[in-house]
Amino acid sequence: MSLRVVHYINQFFAQIGGEEKADYAPEYREGAVGPGLALNAAFKGEAEVVGTVICGDSYFNENLDAAKATVLKMISDAKPDVVVCGPAFNAGRYGVACGTVAAAVKDELNLPVVTGMYEENPGADMFKNKVYIIATKNSAAGMRDAAPKMASLAIKLAKGEKIGASAEEGYMPNGLRVNFFEAERGSTRAVKMLLNKLAGKPYTTEFPMPSFDRVAPGAAITDLAHTTIALVTSGGIVPKGNPDHIESSSASKFGRYDISSFEDLTAADHETAHGGYDPVYANEDADRVLPVDVLRKMEKEGKIGGIYPYFFTTVGNGTAVASAKKYGEAIGKELRDAGIKAAILTST
């Protein structure tokens, strides 16, 4: 018996219509529709598209929670062995929808899933580390290439077979390094890569250096007098006695403490947990690291709108990059949710 596949596509690929039909609500149809036929051909009888879920791109993105739930229910009711979404090529909202559905299928239905899109599709960056995304060309002209790769990976996943490296299977690198045998030995590949580099021709490094990524500068604050500023420090300032036992180095957590009632930090109420520098000065007067006293004055003078009631603290030294990133994300999320637009981060 062939494997059961459910296919997720948008209104355009279902031949319902273009942008004017993008608010099309989720619909389930038996059998393959549009690109599902190409998948069926690529499955070569090993698997078959038994049903297709169609949803307009605008509808999906504007009614995210409801649409996701409906789509998941339709997929689950069809009892698939594996789910395929898209491919979305360069269509941004379609790509995000495919990624969202695929991630939900994996996490909530615990089913194997494959999607596909162009590497610059915003959905790619959002989901490539979460689900297998076959890298496609930037337009539907790439269907002929994409369908066999998606079909082959879908079958392997459905059968629980070992998945090869990204370069073998055609999925986007997902941050997990997987070994495989190349056709040529390393030295030969290196000589070829060098010749391409010398000739100014394109070449692909086998190990991209960890990204030295930059974040675009935040917008300038035009109305400081009505802006609440949050305080963050990697200088380890904590309430006296370090109630959460933030480690002096290699901190495994960050602290979040109420400063709404403080006009000035003093040796009586705050100190530092930092182990990487001489802590005497910060222990004498924590304002030397976290300038609560002057910000309160500025608040009174009307220069700033106020101070966010909580400050965030961690110990910069020795804290693993991955942890620092995690703390930053958590702090960023809280501030964004609270509508805070400005933060001062002090480091020692």
Partner: protein, 125 residues
Amino acid sequence: MLLVTNNEKVREKFGSLCTLQYVEGGHVDVLIHVRDLVHQGHKLLTHPLAGSVKPNETPFRSVALDDASGALDLESLELIEAALNVCRQFPPRFHRGEDAPADMREDFAEIDFRLIDGAIAPQLQ
């Protein structure tokens, strides 16, 4: 020269030849101590991941820094942080020297000793 080690063998030979700080603890404890010294303005003289014995295998580590405590040296900071990062990726097999079987302990200690000896003995002459 300032030598940080948790290896008794290194302490025996170099304790009288340079300033030596003996760390009671494992490999990572030595690196953390070195990191703190770097923050205090000491420069690394030897690579904190000397040797190709995997850092999660050997419980011993010896690192040399300069005596002077000047401005923070960014290269030293990057090296020591990267070394700590590598060590944290892999859980140590033997946390401290005494956790390793006797013959391995002796060999780990000997290699650590030889590596640091090869690096700093010419500098101390």
